[in-house]
Chain length 210, copies 2
DNA sequence: GTCTATAGCCGGATAGAC
DNA sequence: GTCTATCCGGCTATAGAC
């Protein structure tokens, strides 16, 4: 009936909508410099339009920011949830999760930085959104997994510990660069994953071989 | 000869200098809201002076910010270095370190937030300052400690892992509040320290008892 | 849907009196 | 050392032509 509807199936060769371009560019800029340090002028310039045109697509800067974080977070939520679906023994599953999550986290710097920024400046409402729409499912799955490995443990505490080990190495890259023993490898997904899995299985003893 | 010199020994009952008051208040405000979101007017109002008066004490906003982070970081550096001076077996020393560092980190929220902010927005110069003047000594000491526990390990990697486990629980408090299994205890220094030490000694297995 | 032009506000910073 | 008064630049956002 309506042939035009087929266009709703996105063809990557077709130029994306201006609205989407604005969001994509905003994600990068907000992640890099933070909300207050990115002006509507900066975004418009990067997109290649005038600031006034931007207000045709979004009501104001706040709205654009919210659309940007929703976009980056919800696109990630799908990938994250999928990781924990496989049927394997608990330890294998954890190993797979750590490797996959390290990979996703090291690939997507804007995602990581926006989370860091939200932890500092996000209001309660945005935090709840982030928790429920992005992390809840996989956090619950990860909690169940660590509980399976040790039925005596506090799953919330252990799940956060797993995530912290992976993310903190990436978060601290800028300062670690100046600290003793820094190697480029320390920022590579596979290297981090290997270290974290060993540490979680054995503790500090026999945790790594050089 | 000069009796007035005795005033240089600070008496806590004496009102501190305006310059010091400005720094103290700036630390709190910058930590809470970030550099760009705190205006010179905000700071002046909180101090109880007019914005113009502030420029008698500091050249500009940047200079005031730098003085603030130097103050908060260098005051912490002393406390941190002291922790690793005791003579004890490696494991005891690590346990002591974890408990002390958890305590210091959970007590001083501005310190933690300013580090988080610097990780996101600090330039290379400030990062180098932070590394060399604040963290270098104790990071080296912590590296040696984990190396003593496992001579085969990568000390840089393990030292960061120790720090990550302690700090990430505190950093993620706002979102953890909305995640399953959250308890108030999870933010208490001693509780975190106990969990981290167990995890580092044993891995995920037998890491905690509820 | 994008433009030019501009309103209106708030920020950092300075001059100069007291 | 602190004040009042003020400059000026950058910011978000709107009006209205094309």
């Amino acid at each position: 009936m309506n042939a035009v509807k087929d266009n709703s199936v996105k063809d990557k060769s077709v130029k994306e909508s201006t609205r989407q371009t604005i969001i994509d560019i905003s994600i990068k800029l907000f992640a890099q410099s933070g909300y207050a340090n990115v002006s509507v002028r900066d975004i418009a310039a990067a997109v290649g339009i005038k600031p006034a045109s931007l207000y045709y697509h979004f009501d104001n800067k706040q709205t654009l920011y919210l659309a940007s974080i929703k976009e980056v977070f919800s696109s990630k939520a799908i990938a994250l949830t999928e990781i924990l679906q496989i049927q394997e023994p608990a330890e294998t599953k954890l190993k797979y999760y750590i490797y996959k999550f390290s990979e996703l986290a090291s690939e997507d710097e804007p995602f990581r930085r926006l989370i860091q920024r939200e932890m500092l400046d996000g209001d309660e409402q945005r935090m709840q959104y982030l928790a429920e729409k992005v992390f809840q499912d996989q956090f619950n799955a990860l909690s169940l997994l660590v509980l399976e490995i040790d039925p005596q443990c506090d799953p919330h505490l252990n799940a956060i510990s797993v995530l912290s080990l992976i993310l903190y190495h990436l978060e601290t890259t800028p300062i670690r660069y100046f600290l003793k023993g820094y190697k480029k490898q320390h920022n590579q997904a596979e290297f981090i994953a290997q270290h974290v899995f060993n540490l979680l299985m054995n503790g500090l003893l026999r945790s790594d071989t050089l």
